[in-house]
């Protein structure tokens, strides 16, 4: 996932009042919703045509939204006025995640979340070690290696952005690491569901695997949803558990680089952890607590679940629209090779962890 705040071009924020800043978000936001609704519309059209025995690909709205976004984002050079609004995909993604908390009772949250936390801890140690090793073997710049390790082990772009300030990395390294993580996330969209089907994975097993192995929250959500509604929800839960570690890992790297005199010392570590903690997780847990306490009727819970799906629509469109296939060419072969090798290792290890830990109980 990207940053915790919506970016607006620097010159506009200095000179314009808030309502005009929000106005600059409208074109891109409208494009996100337009593409998302078009994806949903094409799926409905497919249902209608097939019911009339007219052949049409049986593809879910999630994939339509992404494919439409990919085509528009890569075939057309979008005018600059769309850029601020396109960044709101993150708001819709987090809104959807908070609302999907209504689909988890607290018991499930503790059981699956607890299991995810244990698996995340193992995954973290292994993936950080392997990425650092690969970075040395392929002679990447040390801070680029740190960023790739943080991005692949925790929460993709958010973690890289959080670490960038903490370890004083160069902007070029940050951009390269972000491009590599986004490219690998895009590849996961198409490979993970195929592997899951080939292995006949259950919805819960696949969801946990996706949440543990796919780096960016947006891509993890989509990769889960492509397999099924339940897999999508479980992927969000596992990914959320993984994201909660962000502060600890970034703090670890900040302390390491500060000890080498190449970053500023962290004065207040507790404050640092709180600042880096993804706060939207608190909303997710709050909605789940309300749902568990019987605050909502069954019909209202169903409405909240549907609302989360509507919120995810523009987020899925945003995944397609912001994925620049040109990045595959421009970022150089070594970071992407390190990323690919690390991700393949991570995918295999987490797959093994999921099967080993569940003993077939999660189907």
């Amino acid at each position: 996932m990207s940053t915790h705040t919506i970016p607006v071009p620097l010159e506009t924020t200095r000179q314009r009042p808030l309502w005009r800043q929000l106005l600059t978000l409208l074109p891109g936001t409208a494009l996100l919703f337009g593409v998302g609704f078009a994806g949903k519309g094409i799926e409905s059209l497919g249902h209608y045509l097939r019911s009339r025995h007219i052949p049409f690909p049986q593809v879910e709205y999630v994939l339509w939204a992404i494919l439409l976004g990919l085509v528009i984002g890569n075939a057309v050079r979008l005018p600059a006025l769309f850029r601020p609004g396109l960044a709101t995909y993150e708001l819709w993604l987090k809104l959807g995640i908070v609302l999907v908390g209504a689909k988890f009772v607290l018991g499930d949250l503790l059981h699956l979340g607890g299991l995810s936390l244990v698996l995340v801890a193992i995954e973290l140690v292994l993936s950080l070690s392997v990425m650092m090793l690969l970075g040395r073997v392929f002679k990447l710049r040390p801070k680029l290696t740190s960023l790739l390790a943080i991005g692949s082990s925790i929460c993709g772009v958010t973690a890289i952005m959080a670490a960038q300030g903490a370890i004083d990395s160069e902007e070029q390294d940050t951009s390269t690491a972000i491009a590599a993580i986004l490219t690998l996330g895009a590849l996961a969209l198409f490979t993970f569901p195929a592997i899951g089907h080939a292995l006949h994975m259950g919805q819960q097993s696949y969801g946990i695997w996706t949440g543990l192995a796919v780096d960016n929250t947006a891509e993890a959500t989509v990769t889960g949803a492509l397999y099924g509604d339940e897999a999508g929800r479980i992927a969000i839960l596992a990914k959320t558990a993984r994201s909660s570690f962000i502060g600890f890992v970034v703090l670890g790297y900040a302390v390491y680089w500060a000890s080498r005199g190449q970053a500023q010392h962290v004065q207040n570590k507790a404050l640092f952890l709180w600042q880096k903690f993804p706060k939207f997780i608190l909303g997710f847990v709050a909605i789940s607590i309300l749902a568990t306490a019987g605050f909502f009727t069954h019909a209202q819970l169903a409405s909240l679940g549907n609302l989360s799906k509507w919120a995810f629509l523009p987020a899925f469109a945003g995944v397609g629209l912001r994925t620049e296939l040109r990045d595959l060419i421009h970022q150089g072969w070594r970071p992407i090779l390190v990323g690919v090798l690390g991700e393949v290792f991570l995918a295999l290890v987490t797959l093994g962890l999921v099967f080993f830990s569940t003993h077939g109980a999660l189907r």
């Binding site: 607006v8 396109l86 708001l91 809104l95 951009s175 608190l282 909303g283």
Partner: protein, 38 residues
């Protein structure tokens, strides 16, 4: 297309997501929004 480090930040997405979600949940709870289909 992704946000780069040099951009100025306008408002907190996490806080906005939580506030909007809780507001919508309240409206659904109070039956101001009676039903949302899919």
């Amino acid at each position: 297309m992704d946000p780069r480090p040099s951009v100025k930040l306008a408002f907190n997405v996490d806080a906005a997501a939580i506030v909007i979600a809780l507001a919508l949940a309240a409206l659904i709870r109070l039956n101001v929004i009676p039903h949302i289909g899919w």
